[in-house]
């Protein structure tokens, strides 16, 4: 029955971060041989897996579009991903909603007109959930798409921000998420500064909203810097490999 102090007077959160700091990020590309692109992505204790298949032939003839690729997204949480085992409700409300939302995000970013009459499947599986799963999934999907070599307008990065006890925090973990304050997942195209996805729970005043939004954008930029840095290394390695093969 203790009231948790979400941010101590010294400016430290429950896990020791400062309000504007994002959790530790780690990722690996190309785990699966069968998928065209795959990524394993960790953000703090949240771990997700994304796999991309495509562009490939449309499985349902009726759904194919003559001038562009269709995108299918599936988000699901493993039954062991939360503290207590959950019934694997693949079709439950929340998962469907997140799937739809992520699909809309990527539809606007992927250059679908280059692959008419095909489909691109993005599968995301949350292996361990500790707050910010949909943002982690978007980041993982971005990386998987890059690994698959599918052209996009820009990298999509996503980060959530919120406000607890009047302080704006970036990248909420599960405890902070459950505090009942507002939660604002945001996905942007960092180079173009455009918003792909913006959702919000709970209530905020206009001034607070500006502050939290700013935090989310900064968080996205931080994540982008991290992902980008490692990507360059990966790409260098790939180029070098090609050179030696040649």
């Amino acid at each position: 029955m203790s009231k948790i102090e979400f941010i101590s007077p010294e400016g430290l959160r429950v896990d020791g971060r400062r309000p504007q700091e994002v959790r530790k990020i780690n990722y690996r590309l190309n785990l699966f041989s069968r998928a065209d692109g795959s990524a394993y992505y960790e953000q703090g204790n949240t771990r997700v897996l994304a796999a991309v298949y495509g562009p490939r032939q449309v499985t349902r003839r009726g759904a194919s579009k003559h001038d562009r690729a269709i995108i299918n997204c599936e988000y699901s949480m493993a039954t062991f991903s939360t503290g207590e085992r959950r019934k694997s409700a693949k079709r439950d409300r929340r998962s469907t909603e997140i799937s739809v939302v992520i699909r809309q995000t990527f539809e606007s970013v992927i250059l679908t007109h280059l692959y008419p009459r095909t489909q691109i499947d993005i599968f995301m599986q949350v292996l361990q959930a500790d707050g910010g799963t949909r943002c982690a999934c978007i980041n993982a999907a971005s990386l998987a798409l890059i690994d698959a070599g599918i052209p996009m307008r820009d990298f999509v990065v996503s980060c959530a921000a919120g406000m607890i006890d009047g302080v704006a925090l970036t990248d909420l973990n599960y405890i902070e998420d459950s505090a009942g304050g507002p939660d604002l997942p945001l996905a942007i195209l960092p180079k173009q500064n455009k918003i792909c996805l913006l959702q919000m729970d709970s209530k905020l005043t206009i001034e607070q909203y500006e502050e939290v939004m700013q935090m989310a954008v900064e968080g996205c930029k931080q994540i982008h810097a991290v992902l980008d840095a490692k990507l360059k290394d990966v790409t260098d390695q790939l180029v070098n490999k090609r050179k030696t093969l040649l």
């Binding site: 029955m1 896990d15 020791g16 700091e21 703090g44 204790n45």
Partner: protein, 989 residues
């Protein structure tokens, strides 16, 4: 904002925990280590902290020895200035938990609390939770120069638990690591003291001394006493049931088998708790008044009869049993020592408050504490002890001394009077401050402003002005002292005023919220002085409707500072009565220039007429005019002994001024609420619950008055109709009972309540109300002034408010608490002076019964406005026979008497039969009451009432010394200058 991944190391904290439902869950959390946890020492130049707190050494003597000698020769009186080397104190986990009191009391500076310690304090043990708050308070106290060092998150001091050690040993080792780090970090320049009772080994190369608590308190007798008390006492006999551990209680509460409640002790009756609206009696089981306890409700078969009612009714009532204490709400208690003959160091203290049990303390100098009021704190209550154990904090002074008793009752109400700090006083302007009329509307010559206050008032915070305009229009202005111009938001002066929240008016002294330079001089609207004001100016048309309202900052000159009688006499056109000037205040009446007299008369008459129209409008809306019948004034002699008690007589003029203040408050409330719905500071008066009215309805039904309590309108109209032509007291007392049924009015932040009805003021029948007219003596008014200014400066767009809803609600609750404490202190001060008055002047006066219970009656004495209970039986159930009947029936004093009481609740009547004669006492009967003082050393003296005879009459006795001169109706608002407004309605000889 760098994401320093290379420096940040991530750890994982994994442990099992009991969650709310009572299940065991495994918790995995991330734990980041940082490299930017600074040492916060002023002596360090490596760390990049901005707000260092721990002191640095001050090397003062830079001069050589010869230079020093020269200086000493020149000025031998100068004291030796020596170097100051601070010591940093790091308490271990055990010491912090067990001896937190000593750390708080020792007044030592530079204490470093490790995060390890504060995490322990934050665990959910019931008494531990408050420890965390106390540690926070110590850290926040700037004079202690103490910090919380986040060692668990610093990459340099974090340590994992080794295989061989327990969690506790690991915590102890973590604290040792902190001390070693500090020493090395500061290059051994500052001595570090590690406080630990368990033996610890430290690297001797560092400047670290390990001290046990005994060594730490050496030399300070008070601390040594405190240390002796913390030792756990073991006893063979267990007198009480064991308390359940917290987790069992919590799981019981969530299951519904146990309940949490606040325990309420009573002087003469059983302790009670309230669960789901039902009241249960309990055996306290070591709970102290106001503690939050966990109770189990007993089944019906085990219910018992309350101790107090054993004789009369003998019925069982719902009973429960205390199984544990969830939160202790112990505070400082004022006590006195029972004289004891034995010379042991154990002493029993009797608290001033009847509801607190005796406390056992250990002290070595008992002689010095006898016959003194002392402050004691409880530290624990073991199962084997009948009484709690505590320790002595400080002495206030000898019992019976006026200053000591006043301080005692302030302390009991947790009102701490401290002089204004230097930082606050530094903010005051100089005495020769002159107003600057720029950015303000200058009304000094254009408006005739005058103020109306009680005689001898020094802090004038409101003044009125009237201007007659063409077309029968009239412009009325209410000008309030502009305190916010002198007190900037969040300045030291502002924060001290916020902590005080209100000026406290005791009978013999006044404790000011603001320094007297402001409250009695520069802010106060003295006669013929130019002063800053916040004004509300209305234009009324010839049909008495408002056509314009203006709010803003002004400069005014109060032309005439009148007192109430003077103002009324001017209106009535009679010659001004001479009032005895009060010698100690050098006060004399305002002299009115003959040219101004007719203007003043016209203005005041307009104010009164319009004021009456406003009042009528509110009455049509359902305003309730209530009574409380307890405001008296004391005349004190040079020794501050009361020589006279007078019940005040008020006139129509009080009513007028009050009405305009209400109107101004309401106008400001509407303005700030319209601008800012989420965090405007308003004053609400919720509708009373229907069960509050039970005693009023019971009493009223005896005389067949129908009181309709559906809403304020019906209540007001039915009270107006409940009149007994032969006895005006009946209506007064009914109004008084209605007043008791009222809910408390309180301050609230508008965003924290939902629903349009929630912000209403029931008593005044207004949609929105706030306090605006007394910023000198109420902090809430200062906040409202600032909110009004914010609204005026940002008319067209929402701006950042000074407080958001959450913060304002916290402040409003704090102000409500302080006001309650101040009201209680004022009441207790009145009781005390009243008792002292009757010390040598015991007398018999007329009284009226306004409540009848099975073993007691409630009486009201009109001559002195005293309300009290007279018990008809002793605690054991023996009938108390008044002196006249004793003489008549020749019953000896000390032998228990035979008599029967027959209580009729519906008819509010007791019938008493002694030796065949029958006496009846019904509500509204007049009785003869002996008023005297009941002395007690350990407790404050109180007025005690006794019947002189069982014979009653239905009309007030003409000849008895209790014949009253005037009957007054009072309106309960308690807002205008902290007094109750009255007007004379009928006189009775």
């Amino acid at each position: 904002m760098n994401n320093k991944k290379e420096d940040q190391v991530k750890k994982v904290k994994a442990f099992s925990k009991l969650n709310k439902k009572g299940n065991v869950v495994r918790v995995i959390r991330e734990h980041y280590l940082r490299d930017d946890i600074w040492c916060k020492s002023l002596a360090c130049n490596i760390c990049r902290h901005e707000d260092a707190v721990l002191e640095a050494p001050e090397i003062v003597t830079k001069m050589s020895k010869t230079a020093l000698k020269k200086q000493k020769k020149k000025a031998p009186e100068m004291p030796e200035v020596s170097d100051y080397i601070p010591q940093y104190i790091i308490p271990s986990v055990d010491v912090s938990m067990k001896y937190l009191d000593i750390l708080e009391e020792c007044q030592k500076k530079n204490i470093i609390f490790c995060e390890t310690v504060s995490e322990e304090a934050n665990q959910t043990q019931h008494s531990q939770k408050r420890k965390y708050q106390r540690i926070r308070n110590l850290i926040n106290n700037q004079e202690r120069c103490s910090i919380l060092f986040a060692n668990e998150h610093s990459v340099e001091t974090y340590t994992d638990r080794l295989e061989s050690e327990s969690q506790k040993q690991r915590n102890d080792r973590a604290v040792v690591i902190v001390s070693e780090w500090y020493s090395k970090h500061l290059n051994n320049s500052i001595p570090i003291i590690l406080l630990s009772d368990t033996p610890v080994t430290v690297d001797p190369n560092n400047n670290i001394t390990v001290m046990s608590m005994v060594e730490f308190v050496q030399g300070n007798t008070k601390l040594m006493d405190m240390l002796a008390n913390v030792v756990d006492s073991t006893s063979e006999v267990n007198l009480f049931e064991e308390h359940l551990p917290l987790d069992v209680m919590e799981s019981g509460i969530s299951k519904g088998t146990l309940h949490r409640a606040k325990i309420k002790m009573s002087r003469k009756e059983d302790a009670t708790v309230r669960v789901d609206g039902e009241e249960y009696i309990v055996e306290p089981n070591r709970a102290v008044h106001d503690d939050v306890v966990c109770v189990q409700i007993l089944p019906k078969e085990q219910w018992r009869v309350p101790n107090s009612k054993r004789v009369s009714t003998g019925f069982v009532v719902p009973t429960a049993v205390v199984v544990g204490v969830i939160q202790r709400n112990w505070r400082d208690y004022v006590c006195s020592i029972l004289e004891s003959n034995d010379s042991s160091s154990n002493v029993m203290c009797v608290p001033l408050d009847y509801r607190i049990p005796k406390i056992r303390i250990r002290t070595n100098n008992k002689q010095a504490l006898e016959n003194m009021r002392i402050v004691v704190r409880i530290s624990s209550w073991e199962r084997g002890s009948n009484y709690p154990t505590g320790f002595y904090v400080k002495t206030i002074g000898p019992i019976g001394d006026l200053n000591v008793e006043t301080q005692s009752l302030l302390l009991e109400n947790q009102i701490h009077i401290t002089p204004f700090s230097k930082a606050a006083l530094d903010q005051l302007p100089s005495k020769d401050w002159k107003p600057d009329p720029r950015y303000r509307k200058d009304l000094r010559t254009s408006h005739m402003v005058s103020s109306i206050d009680p005689i001898g008032c020094e802090d004038i915070d409101d003044a009125l002005s009237v201007r007659h305009l063409p077309n029968d229009c009239v412009e009325i202005g209410v000008h309030i002292a502009d305190v916010t111009a002198f007190v900037p938001h969040d300045s030291p002066l502002d924060i001290e005023a916020r902590n005080k929240s209100t000026t406290i008016y005791l009978i013999d002294r006044r404790i000011d919220m603001l320094p007297s330079l402001l409250s009695a001089n520069l802010c106060s609207l003295h006669q013929n002085r130019d002063r800053y004001a916040m004004s509300v100016i209305w234009k009324f048309n010839n049909k008495h409707q408002v056509i314009d309202t203006w709010f803003g900052r002004t400069v005014i000159r109060n032309r005439y500072a009148l007192h109430y009688d003077q103002a009324q006499s001017i209106i009535d056109g009679i010659s001004i009565p001479k009032v005895d000037p009060i010698p100690e205040r050098n006060w004399s009446e305002a002299q009115i220039a003959p040219d101004d007299f007719s203007q003043l008369k016209k203005n005041l008459t307009t104010l009164q007429k319009l004021g009456q129209l406003l009042h009528r409008a509110r009455q049509d809306n359902g305003a309730v005019d209530l009574e409380s019948l307890d405001q008296v004034t004391f005349s004190l002699d040079d020794k501050k002994e009361p020589t006279k008690i007078s019940t005040k007589v008020d006139g129509l003029i009080h009513h007028t001024v009050a009405e305009w203040m209400i109107y101004a408050n309401a106008a400001v409330a509407k303005k700030i609420h319209d601008h800012n719905q989420s965090s405007a500071l308003l004053r609400i008066h919720p509708q009373p619950k229907s069960e509050n009215f039970s005693s009023l309805l019971k009493v009223a039904s005896v005389r067949d008055y129908a009181i309709n309590v559906r809403d304020n309108n019906t209540l007001a109209k039915s009270l107006d109709g409940a009149v007994d032509r032969s006895d005006p007291y009946v209506n007064m007392l009914l109004r008084s009972l209605a007043t008791r049924a009222m809910e408390e009015a309180q301050y609230v932040s508008s965003g924290s309540l939902t629903g349009s009805e929630a912000l209403r003021h029931y008593g005044l029948a207004l949609q929105h109300y706030t306090h605006f007219t007394s910023p000198i003596r109420r902090y809430a008014d200062i906040i409202v002034h600032r909110q009004l200014l914010n609204c005026l400066q940002n008319e067209n767009h929402a701006s950042r408010e000074l407080f958001n809803n959450q913060q304002l609600q916290k402040i409003a609750s704090a102000i409500n608490d302080r006001k309650r404490a101040a009201d209680r202190a004022q009441q207790e001060s009145t009781e005390w002076f009243r008792a002292i008055y009757f010390r040598n002047k015991s007398q018999v006066v007329d009284g009226i019964v306004f409540g009848v219970k099975s073993t007691s009656i409630s009486v009201f004495l009109p001559q002195y406005y005293i309300k009290g209970q007279i018990y008809l039986t002793t605690r054991e159930g023996q009938l108390i026979i008044p002196i006249k009947e004793r003489n008549r029936f020749e019953l000896p004093e000390n032998i228990p008497s035979a008599g029967v009481i027959d209580y009729h609740e519906e008819k509010q009547r007791v019938g008493i039969s002694i030796k065949g004669s029958l006496f009846k006492i019904t509500v509204f009967d007049h009785v003869q009451v002996q008023v005297k003082i009941s002395e007690s050393k350990a407790h404050l003296p109180q007025v005690s009432l006794e019947l002189t005879t069982f014979k009653t009459s239905t009309k007030p006795s003409a000849g008895a010394s209790g014949g009253c001169q005037t009957i007054v109706f009072a309106r309960l608002r308690g807002d205008h200058k902290g007094q109750i407004q009255r007007w004379t309605e009928s006189k009775m000889k």
